[in-house]
């Protein structure tokens, strides 16, 4: 409904206004937003304020919390607090890169496919079918076999897995818009394909696309954390919340916080995105 009104001013970038209008009004939505800001603050600002180097052994492995080390030490005697503060950046960064890469390609292909209604459609459908015949984690394991372990392969694989659904969503949104009057008007006044796509259609599909991107990001976080946990993504001595849960499993009785704090932060991140997503989805109904 609002899309019709908005066609009068397709130039304005809708994110600012959309954010203000869509500040969650439900309690769970607000909790989600607060949690998300908190976890992102730890992940992004944490590396700047570590009390110790996250890679230096400073005491006995799995020593419990003490005055100098409020969260105790990990399986190599490194300060858990410093590693928790460092370990969020990789979680956010790699999931963000994978989502952005998938969207950069998916948005371009989807827009073109939706606007020009081309032969791409059946090819994409088949490709999606093949990828859908695979559990995402098994696909990631297979690529880990092919490329060897390491985060690069995992990020590429995560982006690849997300690509077909993104193309589908963008394509159907663009297809819907391309039939509308303002697109016809733009074509009639002589705008080229690039201009029609970038200046007319893109601003009008930005909202559903942004909502989808948020969910894809949380999905990327889950998937990459899972692979890191399996030991096939980031390799030690990297500090990463997923990896920390995995490598400190042996010390759960001696210093539970060595794995529980990282687990809690990772959980808070995905929970926050879910709560926020629910609140935003509920708001559009």
């Amino acid at each position: 409904m609002t899309a019709l009104l908005k066609t009068d001013s397709p130039r304005g970038f809708p994110f600012g206004a959309a954010l203000r209008r869509r500040t969650p009004k439900t309690l769970s939505g607000r909790i989600g937003l607060a949690l998300l800001v908190l976890v992102l603050a730890v992940a992004l600002l944490g590396p700047l304020c570590t009390p110790y180097s996250p890679d230096r052994t400073v005491g006995i492995p799995f020593a419990g919390p003490s005055a100098g080390h409020p969260l105790g030490l990990d399986f190599l005697g490194r300060d858990v607090l410093s590693r928790v503060l460092t370990g969020g950046l990789s979680v956010v960064l790699y999931a963000g890169v994978a989502t952005l890469a998938a969207y950069a390609v998916g948005l371009t292909v989807g827009l073109l496919a939706g606007y020009s209604r081309s032969w791409l459609e059946p090819v994409l459908m088949r490709l999606t079918d093949v990828l859908l015949a695979f559990p995402a984690l098994v696909f990631l394991l297979l690529l880990a076999t092919a490329f060897g372990r390491g985060i690069t392969g995992v990020v590429i694989a995560t982006a690849l897995i997300q690509l077909p659904p993104i193309v589908r969503i963008v394509r159907s949104a663009a297809l819907e818009q391309s039939l509308k009057g303002y697109v016809e008007a733009a074509v009639a006044r002589g705008e080229g394909t690039l201009s029609v796509l970038g200046r007319e259609i893109l601003p009008n599909i930005a909202r559903p696309v942004a909502a989808d991107a948020g969910l894809r990001f949380s999905w990327s976080v889950l998937l990459i954390a899972g692979v890191n946990f399996l030991g096939l993504g980031l390799q030690p001595p990297a500090a990463d919340w997923g990896l920390m849960v995995s490598e400190n499993r042996g010390g759960i009785a001696l210093n539970p916080s060595s794995m529980l704090v990282a687990a809690a932060l990772l959980g808070a991140l995905t929970l926050a995105i879910n709560l926020l997503g629910d609140a935003l989805a509920g708001g559009t109904e």
Binding site: V138, A144, T145, A146, A225, A263, T270, L271
Partner: protein, 344 residues
Amino acid sequence: MTATTTVPTTAPAAAPFGSRHPLARVALRRIAGGVLTLLVLSVLVFLATSVLPGDAASAILGKQATPDAVAELRHTMGLDRPLVVQYGKWLGGLLHGDLGNTAAGYAAGGRSGVWDQISGKLGNSLVLAATVFVPVLLLSLLLGVLTALRAGRWLDHLVTTVTLVPAALPEFVLGTVLLAVFFTWFDLLPPVSFVAPGTSPLATPATLVLPVLTLVGVTVGPATRMIRAGMQEALLSDPVAVARLNGIAEARVIRRYALRNALAPSIQVFALIAQYLVGGLLIVEELFGYPGIGKELVDAVTVHDNLEVQSVTMLLATFYVAVTIAADLLVMAVVPKLRTGGTS
């Protein structure tokens, strides 16, 4: 959108597969499509495991192997033949139920079949999956229908909130928290699910509790929500409205009309859960050291046993595709309206 809109306007053409029963025809077409998908997949899997990482034989023998020894092992493993021949041999074996040999077997100087290596673990995983599936099925059906009937009331809010938290967590985070609670603080359950080879995990039920709790916790929330949505849609559908207008008692309306219409989406929900479990098992089996097919695959990837990886991957993909097709056909069997369709 209701299911009715998917009925095509054109009449079905003459039976292309010689069968006049519409369901059998759709079934044949879906199975053919599934086989085609798996064929494409098998090429991808084979390429990913054979072409890129270099040579399996030199990987087995290590860097100090003499060229002669590598050449001999390559010959034994059939790696000196063209890729197409290797692929054909592997695929032919798969079609006959022969999953090939493990690279680990060659490394030990003999041969060991992938099937001998995984059959026990496959059994363990099936036991785990079944003990997850049954409670999730019962719980989510019960909660989904109840919350749909009480939508917007306190029970609905309670169930939605309580099931959302574990469902939003990564499996290994939830598993870790359960581990901390039940092993570290209460010392009730073993932290590692050790199952001796040749014995059934059912003989030591304590080993199953934590993996099952983790997977049930992760799946029951989404399953309940989807069933709730299906049931709500069914409650708003025309047949239910007509039945109510006819003065049929509400309990009977729910039993005879609403529940029946909610059945089809529920079948899809359970197919999704069965498929999710393939990936979920990987993580949970690794976390608890449960000797199943997921841990076996992770181990095979870790030690670069490409021969085992490709066969196990295809096995899991086949299960995945089979579940999709079976669920679609089951839905068609339950909802007669969809039978003439077969657009997909």
